[in-house]
């Protein structure tokens, strides 16, 4: 079995894995990182979205062996010192989650879309989240939260 090295939320793991093991199952079942859920089998729902080497990916559609040497950040690795990431806070403030199942992926996708456009329009936000499905919120508050999160992240960066 291939041996891989993956850093997840700042901790480096060495694992022997079957080639077919999905990255999301490596996270959930081998590393105990159950914060990232699985919502479909066709990469439509985006619930399993994580950052791999700084970019959003759907961890159900990446093999663990493909992530060998990679740096993964999950919803559990956002924020620091017990503080939520500004985007997580914004989701809370704007009531952008109900059942919360899509939320980890949605938050990761939201953070990712700000890499390219730190001050996104409503249209940019909606397009940037097209790969993440939510069944509870109708997306209105998610769009608001992303805008708020973007503002706060901008402030966090610009504040010395």
């Amino acid at each position: 079995m291939p041996r891989i090295t993956v850093t997840v939320d700042g901790i480096t793991y060495e694992e022997e894995v079957e080639p077919r093991l999905l990255l999301v199952h490596l996270l959930r079942e081998r590393l105990g990182k159950t914060g990232t859920p699985v919502g479909c089998d066709t990469s439509n729902c985006g619930a399993c979205t994580v950052m791999l080497d700084g970019k959003s990916v759907k961890s159900c559609s990446v093999l663990a062996v493909q992530a060998d040497g990679g740096d993964v950040v999950t919803i559990e690795g956002l924020g620091a010192a017990g503080e939520m990431h500004p985007m997580q806070r914004a989701f809370h403030e704007e009531h952008a989650l109900q059942c919360g199942y899509c939320t980890p992926g949605m938050v990761m996708a939201a953070i990712d879309l700000l890499r390219e456009d730190p001050e996104p329009s409503e249209e940019t936000i909606r397009q940037g989240l097209e790969g993440n499905l939510c069944r509870c919120t109708g997306y209105c508050n998610i769009v608001r939260a992303v805008r708020k999160g973007a503002q706060e992240m901008g402030q966090a960066v610009s504040t010395p």
Binding site: Q88, N132, V143
Partner: protein
């Protein structure tokens, strides 16, 4: 002076764990020695099973056991239907795992239990099943013809139910206007984002079942009956549950089978559904053909309404399957006055996944047909759709109002909600734009849709449910205990899965006991903790469960009052309760409820008849439903070249009475509207002629993403309900119920100048284009 919590947009207590991934989804849970279950499912819609050979699976690495339906036949029982709606209803035997015959694609025929899910999935491929094909029964109308193949030996009709109110023949006799339409409610897949998951464990005597369910309490009762596990030896836990929308209001084959497998193997077993498995086997929703006739005067006043439904039950009757279409029976007349109303429904068996509750359950179907008919009536008498509604609706001064179908609407103000919606929407301006586009022959036409809905929620009182043959009560339970340190633990019989009960209940309790919002915790979803409950569905939780909690608080306060009077050496009548303290009127002497809680804990000095501990419980069984209502307006742009429908704006003004948490209410309405729009424009579960589901994945069953929906503009009017002391009405389903007809009315409105009177849902570009092609020819 403390701020009143009820009415505040409190941010949710539930959020932190969900936002940081510290969740307890059932699939996250693990037990020592846990095994994984996978099910082999029928690829045939209808077939006799002539042989199942699981031996190939048994020897494979990591495989602990494999069973066929025959192996489990003696102990698996039959899945329950708790709503025998008529005396002569046919309720076929429903084995959790098929034994001799399969009746829909996806029905479980065998299972594997292995050390991990990868090996369990592999071993399914080593099982051999021999099928002798039988004819599929896919179309409801054909299913009722005499020469149709039968789904069950008893035939394809499950039941027929008719209700007559007033003289329907007289209403139609010589009516100046008769509108006759047939609408199709397509089949939908509820698609909660969390796929189902189940974990069953046993210590040899007692059983614990974790399930992604809306109904831990009902499930426990039903599973005890089906499996023979004594109810007191069975604990059911609904941990974090990722949405339901009715789809988790069910007693599923997999829940029964996981319990049986844990019992058989003496080890914990877990099953997690894949999405494609779920599309096949989570109960579906809607699926009706609606024949509707409406008789009216020349000015558009309704004389009578005749509704005849065919409702697709699918292959079996599950928990509430037959009753779902009948939940619309009292709602087709909606907010309108009429002299006569007839409702008829035939439940039809087909070789498809059974249908059951999906957000709104019966009321969206009813609301759709009447709100579509009101637009058709408006066109027939050449009156604005808003005006034709005004001419028929119950005026606000007429409440309480006894409707033609036998309900009493306690309150409402349709005029106020409609006026507000029209002004937010800019109705007149959009009508002017519409006229302009029509004049110009713009290839993109504007359509305006309206839906002035009402609905009934909080199925209760229990004695009415007896009349409907519903297999459970309508009450809800709550208990409240002050802990020694003055914190408050609330236990509710409702089982939230996204609705924010922990937050809303905390607000109710904070006000009732005068304690800080932060000092309240709410426990739920575990039958060992919440001993009594009727769970969460039908927009019942706040108006019944929240009220039960409020009533328990009042009892706690009364007990505290007795103690306070004893401690403060006064009469209970001399005490006033304010900001969490009992104060002797006209003095400075007082005791906080926290001090009293501690005193009842130590119990050093309690008055005669006052037991230690400051706690109480209460059940609430309301006298009536609550009847939210509102006016939704929708503008769509229809590209007449491609048929594409684009939502341009959406306004919803809802009246849900008193509001506990406006933030949560707004979220419920947003999500409800999105799901209703999705039925109107995007979603459809499609079976082919052989009974194969074609929409097994999210790539084929199209759900809207953020990129497919606009912002919604919301507002509220507030006419308190009189059926509960909070004055609240349910809000969980209102958006879904209201929005579907608003959108379709808008689509048809855009196309009416072309002579188009209906577009079947979902209004796909191809359907719109075909409708236009039909009239262009």
């Amino acid at each position: 002076m403390t701020v009143q919590e009820v009415g505040q947009p409190r941010r949710r207590k539930e959020d932190a764990k969900l936002l940081t991934g510290r969740t307890q989804w059932t699939d996250n849970l693990s037990r020592p020695g846990m095994l994984h279950v996978t099910f082999l499912r029928s690829p045939m819609a209808h077939a006799r099973i002539t042989g199942v050979d699981v031996s190939g699976a048994r020897g494979l690495p990591g495989v602990v056991a494999a069973f066929s339906g025959q192996d489990l036949a003696a102990e698996q029982g039959s899945l329950p239907c708790a709503w025998p709606v008529t005396e002569d209803i046919v309720i076929p035997d429903h084995p959790p795992m098929a034994v001799s015959e399969v009746r829909y694609v996806g029905e479980a025929v065998a299972c594997v239990i292995a050390v991990d899910r990868y090996r369990a999935a592999d071993a399914l491929e080593a099982i051999e099943v021999d099928y002798e094909p039988l004819p599929a029964v896919v179309d409801m109308t054909q299913a009722l013809s005499a020469d149709s193949p039968k789904v069950h030996e008893t035939g394809n009709k499950a039941y027929e139910m008719t209700a007559d109110f007033g003289d329907i023949e007289a209403a139609f006799r010589d009516a100046p206007v008769v509108v006759d339409r047939t609408f199709v409610q397509q089949r939908l897949i509820p698609t909660a984002m969390e796929p189902r998951a189940i974990l069953a464990d046993t210590d040899g005597e007692s059983f614990t079942l974790w399930s992604s369910t809306q109904i831990p309490h009902v499930l426990r009762v039903m599973l005890a009956v089906v499996t023979g596990i004594p109810e007191h030896k069975l604990r059911v836990i609904a941990p974090d549950v990722g949405g339901g929308f009715g789809s988790k209001l069910q007693v599923t084959a997999e829940e029964v089978l996981c319990l049986l497998l844990a019992r058989k193997l003496g080890r914990p077993v877990k099953w997690t559904e894949s999405r494609s498995e779920g599309n096949l086997t989570v109960h579906h929703g809607r699926d009706q053909i609606q024949h509707v006739r409406l008789a009216a005067e020349a000015d558009g006043r309704i004389r009578g309404l005749q509704v005849s439904l065919l409702a697709d039950m699918g292959a079996y009757l599950m928990l509430l399957t037959p009753g779902i279409p009948l939940l619309g029976a009292s709602m087709c007349n909606a907010i309108y006055k009429m002299d006569a109303y007839q409702f008829n429904c035939t439940g039809v068996f087909t070789t498809k996944m059974p249908t059951d509750a999906y957000r709104g359950a019966g009321r969206p179907e009813a609301t759709f047909l009447i709100e579509r008919m009101m637009d058709e009536l408006a066109a027939a008498v050449n009156v604005d759709p808003i005006e034709v509604r005004r001419r028929n609706w119950i005026r606000h001064e007429e409440f309480p109002y006894a409707t033609i179908s036998g309900l009493t609407y306690d309150s409402g103000n349709y005029e106020a909600a409609t006026d507000r919606a029209l002004s937010l929407f800019g109705y007149d301006k959009l009508r002017a734009e519409q006229a302009d586009r029509r004049d110009r022959g713009d290839p993109v036409q504007l359509g305006i849709g309206v839906s002035t809905y009402t609905e009934m929620c909080g199925l209760a009182p229990s004695r009415w449910l007896a009349d409907a043959n519903f297999g459970a009560g309508g009450w809800e339970h709550g208990s409240v205990r002050m802990l020694p340190t003055g914190k408050v633990e609330v236990i509710t019989g409702t089982s939230p899965h996204g609705q924010g009960h922990v937050t809303s209940w905390s607000q109710i309790v904070a006000d009732a006991l005068g304690v800080p919002f932060e000092d309240v915790t709410v426990l739920h979803g575990d039958t060992a903790i919440a001993h009594k409950g009727m769970d969460t569905y039908g927009s019942r939780s706040l108006v019944i469960g929240g009220v039960a909690v409020l009533k328990a608080c009042e009892k706690v306060k009364e007990k505290a009052r007795k103690l306070a009077a004893y401690v403060l050496e006064c009469s209970p009548d001399d005490l006033e309760f304010e900001a969490g303290a009992f104060k002797v009127r006209g003095t400075d002497s007082s005791k906080t409820i926290q001090e009293l809680a501690y005193a009842t804990f130590t119990a050093h000095d309690l008055p005669e008849g006052v037991e230690p501990n400051l706690d109480s419980d209460a059940t609430f069984d309301p006298d009536n439903y609550s009847f939210p209502h509102g006016t939704h307006l929708c503008a769509v742009e229809v590209d007449t070249e491609t048929g594409m429908v684009k939502l341009r704006s959406y306004v919803a003004v809802d009246d849900i009475g008193k509001v506990v948490n406006p933030l949560i209410v707004e979220g419920q309405v947003h999500g409800g509207i999105a799901q209703g729009i999705a039925q109107a424009l995007f979603e459809e579960a499609t079976y082919d002629a052989e009974g194969n589901l074609l929409t097994t994945t999210m790539a084929d069953y199209l759900l809207p993403s953020a990129a497919d929906l606009p912002m919604f503009t919301l507002d509220r009017t507030e006419t308190p309900a009189t059926s509960n002391p909070l004055g609240a009405k349910g809000v969980g389903e209102a958006g879904t119920i209201a929005s579907t007809p608003a959108v379709v009315n808008a689509v048809v409105d855009a196309l009416r100048p072309y002579g188009i009177e209906d577009v079947r849902m979902p209004c796909t570009p191809e359907r719109v284009w075909r409708a236009l092609e039909g009239v262009r020819r």
